[in-house]
Symmetry: C3
Subunit: 302 residues, 3 copies
């Protein structure tokens, strides 16, 4: 792979190879000195046109644990004239010797465009509602750890599917690994269609016999926009509770991309229970991002 | 020690051990290549819910001089929902592999709570009015350099005692080392009581025969709040001047935690004189923070 | 040299020595592992009282490629009380062990003052309208690469000369290397005089037989201030177009300090053509800044 934009054109083999590297990276992270010289002399830029401390720090640590240099560029999109200025920023960083760009943007498509501008590797760190592929990779990696295989597994994604790049990327990746993906949410927050995915407003239908449930973060601005009647109504109909999780398989696990609105998307006690893999997702995020950077920077040279 | 929150339960021996390490760190900092691999592979996070460039950079340099990786998280407290979100932020950093957290918060008690959430070492980088222990450590360390011993020494702390975490931490630490602490300030800016400390609105009484004077930074918002009549009145009654310092011992030295409002808390000529240890405090701050990180990260493993 | 403030008192020999080091740094940057231990144990602070991501990242990368530690201090000038607080900030950084300061300020003269306050090396990263010497150095270095020698070369600088520190620094440096500098722009944006330079409102006169053209960035706030009638009028009279560039020598090259307002200062197709050295300028910026840091930090010790 030359870039990581989404999972168009990816094979199951490529995902499995990447995960094998991520498992090696987990071993590095378990050592007393959790650092390797794999990317010494490489420079990774985090280019965030939309703020996200968590994702930025995860990529920063992934790069530093492999001894890469990291520079951070952040700018409110509003302060940029769109289009040409994204290009100008990236060409400037390329001229300064950057090898890989982690790009987060509120406009869909910016990372794709970037691949036409720079020779370095582009990693989509989340673009609009479109894709957030490293989140989906860490989700899938965490699910594989918990479930052994995704073949024939039923995964329910719950919440604001319409606006969610996390849902879209998981809807691309999980079926590639053999899973059956259901998306459930309020009718106003469901897209009309999503390839490879069953859409339903009926939470119970989605949870029934599920092997895993992924609750999405609810953006409170959706209510202002009239897309959601009220928070109590959302909670009443779509919150993942211990009670509701009884519809799922007995071993069913819970994921959430974070940061969680406690007692909104997920019942607090469930979020703190052993079924919740939320912290494991964050932990695997560093290993998975190390693997992505390694494949893109060392793999593409080979 | 597992954490550095305040000086509850500390022994004089523990402080002296820490200062012995800080003296070794001073030697490292005096070398041509002022860097050691002591914390290679460790990750230190500065988690600032209240801005402070000086303290953040001091900790960053302390960590880097020992070859640790550093990540910075900063957020206006206002943008966080209190309580649960502090926890969420810290659990996320822990899952990413952070080993020590330097936490600055405008709400007292956040670092204490943090020790219940994370397994890593927590360093209080200043919480509300409560405590700022690394500041008190660097103050005490600097006083020891200047005075040899604190046994029986009289130290006057002057200014807004009521709102000062620096005063509170010094009031805990300095008596532990044998010093007699006096706190002087306008009656409206004195707490009703402070353990181990003599409180007085009479500056002259506090300065009399003192071995050292520590002027505190005056927050100008106190006047808006009606706690101070006017800046000229404060200056007239509580500014530390060369004239007033004649009440103190001939060798008496001046400290200030910075940044100083020149010609408010301290007469400008005095601030620039040889009696002022203000820059030495900043310099010792790096060595003392190196020692704290070293004891917490390497010491707790042993 | 002990500091880099401007080119007062510089000899041609000193510039040529610096460029020889910059050429060695280019070789480092062309290696697979673009990193040398030259500044291990040194600390470089970027102290930006005016924001500039590009210049800050360029210096950061220059320092890191030589294994220095970097700390970043940034503050809106407005939040600083002028004068004493610049000093306080720098003395604090010095006490923390900083060896070199890259200072950017909207007030002219701050870097000069800084040399009276700190013992470390001061690099002017741009101060008001006064000077931006590393930009001029990278411009001259890039021109030398393209033209072989600047002896007798005609260089046209075009745009808002009055407010431009880039123009001022180039007007000092380029004649030192034998070039003849012309500055052209709207009469309201020309200074009354500029030493060593020919000033003209007539673009054609400046471009005629020129070996290189440097277009300056147009600050759109100039129009609000009534100094420019309208953008279309500026474009009509002063935009560098392929057509207009025919007045210059056939080999004439185009420079721009960036970020460019496309189709304002320069015609878009020309900006993307082979004659444009804009990306090469950015690339050389890192090598030139590495040379500056090396000469100041290692050279001054020798």
């Amino acid at each position: 792979m030359r870039h990581l934009l989404d999972f168009q054109g990816w094979s199951r083999k490529e995902v499995e190879d990447l995960f094998e590297t991520a498992r090696l990276m987990q071993e590095v992270l378990a050592r007393p000195v959790k650092k390797v010289p794999a990317l010494q002399g490489f420079t990774v830029a985090t280019v965030f046109f939309e703020p996200s401390t968590r994702t930025r720090i995860s990529f920063e640590l992934a790069a530093r644990r492999m001894s890469a240099d990291v520079v951070s560029f952040s700018a409110a999109s509003s302060s940029l004239e769109k289009g040409e200025s994204y290009k100008d920023t990236l060409l400037t960083l390329e001229a300064m010797g950057v090898d890989a760009y982690v790009i987060r943007a509120d406009a869909a498509g910016v990372p794709h465009q970037a691949t036409r501008w720079v020779r370095g590797a582009v990693i989509n760190g989340g673009d609009g509602r479109r894709a957030h592929p490293t989140q989906a990779l860490l989700d899938a990696f965490t699910l594989l750890e918990a479930l052994g295989s995704l073949e024939g597994r039923k995964i329910a994604i719950v919440g604001d599917i319409l606006h969610s790049r996390v849902a879209r990327s998981n809807a691309e990746l999980l079926p590639l690994l053999g899973a059956e993906v259901w998306c459930a949410g309020p009718p106003t927050l469901l897209p009309e269609r999503l390839p490879n995915v069953r859409l339903t407003p009926d939470l119970e239908e989605a949870l029934k016999e599920a092997d895993a449930v992924m609750a999405l973060r609810l953006q409170k601005e959706r209510m202002a926009a009239g897309l959601l009647p009220s928070l109590p109504e959302y909670v009443a109909l779509y919150q993942i509770t211990e009670e509701r999780l009884r519809k799922a398989k007995p071993h069913a696990v819970l994921l959430h991309p974070g940061p969680m609105n406690r007692d909104v998307e997920v019942e607090g006690t469930l979020a703190d229970s052993e079924r919740s893999l939320v912290n494991r997702q964050v932990q695997n995020g560093v290993a998975v991002r190390m693997a992505v950077l390694y494949h893109l920077l060392v793999g593409r040279k080979a």
